[in-house]
């Protein structure tokens, strides 16, 4: 049986400052080596000051993943030489001498399957290496320490995945979870990174590193299953090793094993005193935690009668569920859920598009109210929504400028239907004999009203007229 375990690095991007100093946690799009100080570049004499908020955020992730939080957490140094690591050790957590990392022994359900979480630890991100030069010979390595010291949590799962598909679903759920908790924006470049461990039946465990995206981890795992299985089939031993994902060639390649056989010489970090986390503190954090995605979904279904499918899609998207929360009332909730999931989500589906979205909760609630109150048809509503997306103008302004007001008043609608009956004598005759063809007439009315006619009222009037004619 194939066994897959994951190590996920997730930056706590919602924090203001780095893990051990006051430099900005948001290192992106800055001049190289401008977001640094004596502490995060490890100058002689500097000392780390633990960002207590990072501990709180990591504790929230631990709670959300059902982990145990120890009474005291401690930090360790992981020693190794690498140019992006200014102190040549990384401050992290380590459970080999007892559970002292922020979380351990949790689990989460993915499509009815339990994925166990072995541990969650807080650690600092290293700097970034940037390679320049046109050939291998002219290549130079530049180091940018802006990222050094960015707060991370590492989430380590047990090898509970049976196939790459489960991995993908898990990662999506996890990304939604940290976003919903307001601890991280997982869609920022490099904010969430995954390493995998994989073994097939009768084979050794292989570690896959250097995977750039969620999509690639799935590909890398598929590649590894095929590679390992074909070795096993031919009675060749699968080497226990670390392999790197080669993004260009879409294959994994063996990392030189000697280089990877590291002895990290873990050592307690004496500069950071033990942090006590009381039950009171945990209770308090629980209270501060936003409603979970699962609870939100249940509420949508029970309270507003939103269909399960729609509730699931809406609740797991932080941006749109926030929009829903702001826009909805008891009466228009269902309609708003419908507008968001069928129209808006398809339009703005990336992080950038969401940020640029001109539509506010006000637009959405005005629109939904109009639809619920039969002042505008769903069809016209769609047109209004696109106009609001495009221009950001208010709903009422758009309705009047595009003349989208619903033709639901019976007398004006009757007039139009009379006209259609005159123009389409043949179709009317046919409809009298075969009620299935009635839609043709409805379509004609819609065309005449540019879609503004309320479909159900229209149908009702046509039926009445067919009987009396």
């Amino acid at each position: 049986m194939t066994k897959i375990g994951l190590e996920i690095h997730c930056q706590l991007t919602k924090l203001e400052s780095k893990l051990f100093c006051n430099c900005k946690a948001d290192y992106r799009n800055l001049t190289p080596n401008s977001n640094i100080c004596p502490i995060c570049i490890g100058l002689p004499g500097s000392l780390p000051i633990l960002n207590k908020k990072a501990v709180e955020k990591a504790a929230m992730i631990s709670l959300a993943l059902g982990c145990q939080i120890p009474e005291q957490i401690s930090f360790f140094r992981k020693n190794y030489f690498y140019p992006d690591l200014p102190k040549n050790f990384q401050i992290t957590q380590y459970n080999a001498y007892g559970p002292t990392s922020i979380g351990s022994d949790g689990s989460i359900q993915i499509e009815g399957k339990e994925i166990r979480i072995r541990r969650i630890q807080i650690e600092e991100d290293p700097g970034r290496l940037v390679y320049e030069g046109i050939s291998e010979k002219t290549q130079i390595t530049l180091v940018d320490y802006n990222r050094a010291g960015t707060p991370l949590v590492e989430i380590v799962t047990e090898p509970d995945f049976e196939n790459p598909r489960q991995v993908r679903i898990f990662l999506n759920v996890l990304a939604d979870l940290v976003e919903n908790l307001e601890v991280s924006d997982p869609y920022l470049e490099g904010a969430m990174r995954v390493d995998g461990n994989i073994s097939v039946e009768k084979g050794n465990r292989v570690e896959i590193k250097n995977v750039g995206s969620f999509r690639d981890i799935e590909k890398a795992l598929h590649f590894e299953i095929t590679r390992q299985q074909s070795l096993v089939d031919r009675n060749i031993e699968v080497a226990a090793e670390t392999r790197h994902w080669d993004e260009a060639r879409k294959i994994t390649v063996s990392a030189r094993s000697k280089e990877e056989e590291q002895d990290y010489r873990y050592l307690p970090e004496a500069d950071i005193p033990l942090v006590t986390i009381t039950q009171d503190k945990i209770d308090n954090l629980r209270k501060q935690m936003p409603e979970s995605i699962v609870a939100k979904k249940e509420r949508y279904i029970k309270k507003y009668g939103i269909p399960t499918q729609v509730a699931e899609v809406l609740s797991s998207d932080k941006f749109y569920s926030d929009l829903f929360e702001k826009a909805h009332t008891e009466s228009n909730a269902k309609e708003i859920a419908n507008i968001i999931t069928t129209d808006l989500m398809g339009f703005a589906d990336t992080r950038e598009k969401k940020i640029d979205l001109k539509v506010t909760h006000r637009h959405i609630s005005d629109l939904a109210d109009a639809i619920v109150g039969n002042k505008i048809t769903r069809n016209s509503g769609k047109a209004a929504l696109y106009e609001m997306i495009k221009t950001g103008k208010s709903f009422s302004e758009i309705v009047s400028s595009l003349d989208l007001g619903s033709v639901s008043n019976a007398s004006s609608l009757e007039k139009i239907i009379d006209e259609v009956f005159k123009e389409e004598e043949k179709a009317v005759k046919e409809a009298k004999q075969n009620p299935d063809t009635i839609n043709y007439i409805v379509g004609k009315v819609m065309r005449k009203t540019k879609g503004k006619a309320d479909p159900s009222t229209t149908l009702e009037i046509i039926r009445k007229k067919l009987l009396s004619a």
């Binding site: 004596p38 570049i41 490890g42 100058l43 002689p44 004499g45 500097s46 000392l47 780390p48 000051i49 633990l50 140094r77 020693n79 030489f81 690498y82 140019p83 200014p86 102190k87 040549n88 050790f89 001498y97 180091v143 002895d263 010489r265 873990y266 050592l267 307690p268 004496a270 500069d271 950071i272 005193p273």
Partner: protein, 483 residues
């Protein structure tokens, strides 16, 4: 005007207008120029800035503007404490050109009180050593006999204070590094409780046990410095609040009725005869002053040297890993080197003692040995702590000679690391258990070399420790430094 006056006397004379700061600083610098050839206390002398600063303080005094409480007192700083704009070399090739872009917390506090920094003083490379012979810039020499070692690793601090090249100095004490030179140079040195003085800006060697500590010629001067540098620092999470204790108040409260425990394991085998008899004299003196003296056994002390060198080396191997010459260091063309080859080439520039400890430290932390060495050493440390706690339920202070032997000749023991390590046996206990300890000049041997007595107190009992030290100091009458 004598340079020998105490810090408190200096303050009253400057306040009274009897001397100007510039005068005193200039005279101190003259003294530095006269004796440096013989003792080599300083690595960097900041003459011009010191004089300018002195002049500006005089101006402030004249204009009756607000002046910091140290009134331009000349100080020296061990060269492993970061000073903005001045080199901080750690007496190492690896940092020979390193200029810190920031001040250590203790330095900003001294500057705020208008201390005048004369310069940075010598040490064993990265504070690893007990003789100051392991300095990249050459050894410092004992002012009492320049053929002899001044102790270490804060040798430059001990020498500069003893040889009147400054009034007070800041050193650092990891395994006795303030007290050893204080004892060998006949000055006072305090290792404060771990967490009482900020380590921000102290270049780490063994960060779980070291503290910055003052060196001065008088106990009252030590108290003065502690008033400035002690207390919580938001830049060092291991520091604690000390509620603004005034260490100078009640120094002369005496020692009557106090109970003192002479540590059996620190006065036995290997202790020099003259040191032994000085210790006995100290006991008699303290009894005369009304203290009750008993013998106390701390048998964990027998394992302390092994535990200390295991823990300190382990931490050193990690703390010194950052010196890869990539971000700062000395000129070296890296072209053509693969990263690992470059790192090993660069790191061959550490001196022999640092190299020894980094190798030892990497070994005791390596897979499969952690439990055998590092964890065992931590167990010894915990055992020592409980024995010391137990002792302080019976006595107020512990007493022992600071160093088991007299100062020895430069070069005499440099090739014998084990013998040198064993010299730390009496000082290490305070570091491994975190408690404060002070070395008081007590006697001069028949060969004219200083002997210091060490008093140890319970954690954060600096105030009573200084009172005890003051009592002992007042009971002695020692000759002037012969230099």
């Amino acid at each position: 005007m004598s340079l020998e006056i105490s810090a408190t006397e200096y303050l009253s004379r400057v306040r009274a207008g009897n001397i100007s700061v510039e005068e005193f600083v200039a005279k101190t610098l003259d003294r530095v120029h006269t004796v440096e050839d013989k003792v080599h206390a300083y690595i960097t002398i900041d003459e011009q800035n010191a004089l300018n600063k002195a002049k500006s303080i005089d101006k402030k005094i004249k204009a009756k503007e607000k002046v910091g409480s140290l009134l331009g007192m000349p100080v020296s700083i061990k060269d492993n404490i970061c000073t903005f704009g001045l080199k901080t070399t750690c007496a190492s090739k690896m940092l020979e050109n390193f200029v810190s872009p920031y001040d250590a917390t203790v330095i900003s506090r001294l500057r705020q009180e208008d201390a005048v920094i004369i310069g940075k003083v010598n040490l064993d490379e990265f504070a690893m050593g007990s003789t100051t012979e392991f300095s990249h810039f050459g050894p410092s020499r004992n002012p009492w006999n320049t053929e002899y070692v001044p102790g270490g690793s804060s040798g430059g601090s001990g020498v500069s204070v003893s040889a009147l090249e400054c009034m007070i100095s800041l050193g650092s004490d990891t395994g006795g590094s303030v007290r050893s030179p204080a004892s060998f140079c006949s000055v006072v040195g305090l290792k404060p409780t771990y967490g009482l003085v900020s380590r921000y800006g102290l270049v780490s060697y063994a960060n779980s046990i070291e503290q910055i500590g003052p060196v001065a010629r008088r106990v009252e001067d030590i108290a003065l410095v502690m008033n400035i540098i002690a207390g919580h620092d938001p830049r060092d999470d291991t520091t604690v609040q000390n509620n603004k204790v005034d260490y100078t108040a009640g120094l002369d409260s005496g020692i009557k009725g106090k109970k003192i425990g002479l540590v059996q394991q620190m006065i036995g085998e290997g202790v020099d005869k003259e040191v032994s008899s000085a210790t006995n004299n100290a006991v008699s003196k303290l009894q005369e002053l009304g203290a009750e003296c008993i013998t106390i056994s701390l048998d964990a002390v027998e394992h302390s040297v092994a535990a200390y060198y295991t823990i300190a080396s382990a931490e050193a191997s990690s703390n010194l890993a950052r010196y890869d010459n990539l971000r700062y260091g000395f000129d070296f063309g890296s072209e053509g080197f693969e990263f690992k080859a470059y790192v090993s080439k660069i790191r061959s520039n550490f001196g022999p003692e640092v190299t020894r400890r980094m190798l030892l430290g990497a070994f005791v932390l390596s897979a499969g040995y952690y439990g055998k060495y590092y964890l065992k050493a931590q167990k010894v440390r915990a055992m020592m702590k409980s024995q010391v706690d137990e002792a302080f339920t019976k006595v107020d202070f512990l007493l022992a000679p600071t160093m088991p032997i007299l100062p020895f000749k430069i070069g005499e023991k440099i090739d014998d690391p084990l013998t040198l390590y064993l010299l730390d046996i009496n000082t290490i206990t305070a570091n491994l258990t975190g408690i404060p300890a002070i070395s008081i000049p007590f006697a001069i041997s028949s060969s004219g070399l200083p002997i210091g007595m060490q008093i140890l107190a319970n954690s954060f009992e600096e105030k009573s420790l200084l009172q005890a030290g003051y009592s002992l100091q007042q009971a002695t009458n020692l000759p002037r430094v012969p230099l």
